[in-house]
Symmetry: C2
Subunit: 350 residues, 2 copies
């Protein structure tokens, strides 16, 4: 399909007057080469605009030099910073990034040992059996926000969900005297949600507030689902003076439901989220939430995977700290509007 035949290692070798083995050595810095030879080869490469064929290298070396990323789907403000972290870290290490969503493929064909050296697997994107099979084959795997089955030692990267949630609820109780606090659960099997709920429960307990199941509903980490859930609770007359929406997306739906029902936020009902995604600060009132270091999760995942790829031991669990972000929706005052919004870090140019 290409107009001209791209140069191969043989073309370079001929032009430089050496063997292809020597060219390969300078390409891979795999052995010292005489200075003049080196210079000739470098020149030949430059003149021909030679780029090694990935496929040939992979076939011969049995390493793909690419990391696979498996996701359930591409959505939510959560995903962007994570991808940024993964891509940056992979690129820095000289690895390519192959992305695939599990959308409708029941089995994991498009990503595997045949086109990646290792895999990053996000919550809910791969069947546990397939995971076990891959792992037993010795294929390097790192999990994101989802624990492996007990018997498998697969590294996992996740965040301090419980501690974050506890800080948040403690704040509502201690600073704003809320005691009738609802919790909106995420998707059923979602570990983040379960840990957040534990933090919520612990905070209640620590303050002697009885747990009331009527104040638990399914928000699904989803704006519309949360909207419906809150409407339902309100209609049922569940007594509330605060809602922990589970995550920021759900918090947006919660705010909408409350506004529509004429409840004042935060005066009547305080609202808090989790994650601190980009739009959290733009909500009205500005959302009090917990900052999840999402980009770092991505970086850490690649980091651990690289260790595995290099035959080094990896951390079984990487638990990244979360941080309370106080804005207005909890009942606190607005901070100075002088402060510009915070932005994710942009790597410096070299």
């Amino acid at each position: 399909m290409l107009n001209h035949q791209a140069p191969t290692i043989l073309d370079v070798a001929r032009r430089a007057g050496v063997s292809i083995a020597t060219v390969s050595r300078v390409l891979n810095r795999t052995a010292t080469v005489a200075p003049q030879t080196l210079a000739k080869i470098r020149a030949a490469i430059a003149e021909l605009g030679y780029v090694p064929r990935t496929a040939a290298r992979v076939l011969a070396s049995r390493k793909t030099n690419t990391i696979g990323l498996l996701l359930p789907e591409i959505s939510g403000s959560f995903f962007l910073p994570m991808l940024r972290g993964i891509e940056a870290e992979a690129r820095q290490a000289g690895y390519g990034l192959l992305i695939h969503t599990a959308q409708d493929s029941p089995s994991l064909q498009p990503l595997g040992e045949h086109n990646a050296d290792g895999l990053l697997i996000f919550t809910d994107s791969l069947d546990k059996n397939e995971l076990a099979t891959l792992h037993r084959r010795g294929f390097p795997l790192v999990l994101l926000h989802d624990s492996p089955p007990d018997d498998l030692l697969i590294p996992i990267i996740t965040i301090e969900n419980k501690a974050g949630a506890k800080m948040l609820i403690d704040h509502l109780i201690e600073v704003h005297q809320r005691r009738r606090i609802a919790y909106l659960q995420g998707p059923p099997a979602h570990e983040d949600s379960r840990w957040r709920q534990r933090g919520y429960c612990e905070a209640l307990k620590a303050h002697g507030i009885p747990f009331d199941p009527a104040r638990i509903a399914r928000g699904g980490f989803d704006e519309d689902e949360a909207y419906m859930a809150v409407r339902r609770m309100l209609q049922q007359g569940v007594g509330l003076d605060a809602i922990f929406a589970g995550d920021d997306e759900a918090a947006a739906g919660t705010l909408r439901a409350l506004k529509q029902s004429g409840r004042g936020v935060p005066d009547e009902v305080a609202v808090v989220g989790f994650d601190d995604v980009s739009f959290a600060q733009h909500l009205t009132p500005a959302l009090t939430t917990v900052r999840a270091p999402i980009e770092q999760v991505g970086r850490a995942a690649v980091h651990q995977l690289l260790r595995l790829l290099h035959g080094q031991p990896a951390e079984r669990l990487t638990l990244l700290p979360t941080e309370l972000v106080i804005r207005e929706s909890c009942g606190c005052h607005a901070q100075s509007p002088m402060a510009p919004a915070r932005h994710p870090h942009i790597p410096e140019e070299v």
Copy 2:
């Protein structure tokens, strides 16, 4: 590195009692195979859990079956839907997606003929010379939101920026009687921004409003940059009754700057954005903007690239329609019952 040797096509052939050529044929559906033979091969594949090595296929067939995506960086709410569209369309067509950001690599090494069949190139991510070189080699390329140099026939996918902007400004002028409308430009070389500015100018002209360069500033399609730009205009005493922020990110910064300066939005100053990214509806007041079909842009780009890959002619230009999204920041009433009611207001005098 793997515990067991993964099965190869030879293992399958032996088990099925056929040659590797025949196995290859059923793998690729490249010739009809006798039913019993087919069955035996299928069985062998299943029993062995055989998956063809991508590298070997690529090397032998000279097709990578993957699409490369080159971006300047991973950021902004704009990027997510575009990626979703690209990934979905590629997956559907059986292509892998290899992502790379141009961050610090001055030249395009990590993505090219050696590991992709074709490339999707987003604005600002590749030097024009490299682009020309790739194209002249006959490498399939599709551009996103950025025109090729005149002499190169590279398909481009973009949106109706000018028409969208014109609708927006027409609305401000005709419905809300605004005449002192500022425009915040995007990054210098950004085509989207230039076309939006043309739409802005045409709308002014059509209503006999003189163009005033004092009302043009650099918002950079960036929240903080827009914030600073608006503050500056306000300090300089530039007369304004509306601001077209260039895009939604900049609109967020604009709202912040106006709020901080105590200007009422939309009463004193109307604000409109462009793109309709996810947070636009969450801003206060809810943002009137133009919906850019971003996910579709991604899909269309893959679609055109696939045509190229299949040797079919591709559309030189795909121009996707935009659509006005009226919310509240222009001065209109809230449309949906979801939002709180507002009293009608009488526009300020000019």
